[in-house]
Symmetry: C2
Subunit: 300 residues, 2 copies
């Protein structure tokens, strides 16, 4: 025991000078000092606006992970499918779900227009061909975790597959029991502790990059699974539109930090080991879904 304690002290002593040399910078300080090239603008055709009375929720779609679903979502948005639908399910510490509340009733379901009625499950993709910035921290759910196309992701070198991880704000395509029963018409957003057990079990189509609080603060549905008892309790959806279909002046101009940058690595380390005055014991670890994926308003 004494030897172990001594080794730990020595390790600490060796580690301290290097750490002490670098003054700690908060995430905001790191972002403020970042070069413009570290930021990207999401493509307008990959950006979805969920328009509520309370404001706009901005979603970045993930065609790199779910190309068929994203394509269908684009078709549904262009056809005005969601205009006048609702957020009909809000389950505490889990998801807010929106779309056609009558989708399961053939007599009342909305017309899907020119959208596809059948899609393959897109639970995972080939890891090859997508840049993957590995997060070295331990994860219990996946052999490897990191960031790909701007999304938190898992990867399995043995199977050669990669997939999106169910972190806060992620948008997924609701489905029935069959793996290939999602169309992208019923979408849910994670508003609680990351339900990573859903990884590779459901098709994820993007993530909320602004306005998540318009979903996470909604009244919870009192019925099982967070459904509302009465239609009047649902939150009306004015429209869901692709940014590319919205006049330039009405768009929300956002920038996302690239995950392959030194700036992002510095952000992750600043959160893994918070060396500000508040923290008495930096964690020395960060979970995938605790890593912030910074978003900022585009500069004029």
């Amino acid at each position: 025991m004494r030897t172990v304690a001594l080794s730990a002290c020595l390790l600490l002593a060796l580690a301290m000078p290097a750490a002490a040399q670098t003054p700690y910078r908060s995430m905001q300080q790191i972002l403020d000092a970042s070069p413009a090239a570290d930021w990207r603008v999401p493509a307008a055709a990959d950006t979805l606006y969920l328009e509520l009375d309370a404001g706009r929720v901005v979603i970045e779609l993930a065609p790199g992970f779910a190309p068929r679903h994203v394509d269908n979502i684009r078709t549904l948005a262009r056809g005005g499918f969601w205009n006048g639908t609702s957020i009909y399910r809000v389950q505490d510490n889990f998801v807010a779900q929106f779309g056609d509340a009558d989708a399961d009733d053939p007599a009342r379901a909305r017309d899907l227009g020119t959208a596809r009625r059948k899609l393959p499950a897109e639970f995972e993709r080939d890891a090859e061909g997508i840049a993957f910035d590995v997060l070295p921290d331990a994860d219990g759910w996946a052999p490897q975790v990191g960031f790909a196309d701007g999304f938190a992701a898992g990867r399995d070198p043995q199977s050669g597959k990669a997939w999106m991880a169910h972190c806060y704000g992620v948008v997924g395509a609701g489905r029935n029991l069959e793996a290939d029963s999602s169309l992208g018409a019923e979408l849910y957003v994670v508003i609680g502790q990351s339900p990573r057990q859903l990884d590779r079990n459901i098709t994820q189509v993007g993530r909320v990059i602004q306005g998540i609080e318009l979903l996470s603060a909604l009244p919870r549905g009192p019925e099982p699974m967070g459904f509302y008892a009465e239609a009047a309790q649902r939150t009306p959806i004015r429209a869901v539109r692709l940014a590319s279909e919205v006049p330039e002046a009405e768009r929300t101009h956002l920038q996302l930090l690239r995950t392959g940058t030194r700036t992002f690595r510095d952000v992750v380390e600043a959160r893994r080991n918070r060396r500000d005055e508040f923290y008495k014991r930096p964690a020395g670890h960060i979970d995938l879904c605790n890593v912030p994926l910074p978003v900022r308003a585009a500069k004029d």
Copy 2:
């Protein structure tokens, strides 16, 4: 590579028959079949009611982890300290915080009555003397994780310490920069992705066992850190009372599943490997903060 794959197949083949023999039971089915002795009633002196216009939030206090803070909270509740205070901070994906919004202004701060003005930090405790039900699943934040006194917890065999883990619903004692600056008068509740970086950095005093949605669905504060800009935006608190100070007929009678039971282990396994029709790939893993800690209404 072939050898590895073959080994995995063999392991799977060996594991399958045993798993297949047991029909899968959902968490609810397991709970419905549980013996009454697997449930405990939280002590009335360890139960705090946060009374809002929208209803009651029930908190189980953790005297096993933070005896001095819990003692102070009892004193504050008996003295009516929180009656007429507010929830003055709600930060999305992080915490809802309540207490005296003017605590930092000596001219306007509420009188703490007979409560202590100085407490030691209670970030961790000796692991000896507290029953700890180990969760075998990997965790990046702590050498060991599990459940102690009904709370999700971490443990370090080397230091001989145990501490509560910041999972959804956990209640902590807000502090300033000094480790020993919390009194239990300003309390926060986790309403987002588990901020485990706070473990061993702040004193946790309990967890919400009913009514979390009365906090998690509150409008987010628009100011930095989720503070409200105007006092009128805060959520009024009618009272905070110990259940032991409330007439029996007005109490909320709840039971909590004991974590040392076979029932609890079955619940954890049912969530670690969901073998129902929906899940195509059981995770084979569960994170500490994804483990449900079941609560039910006491049977008449």
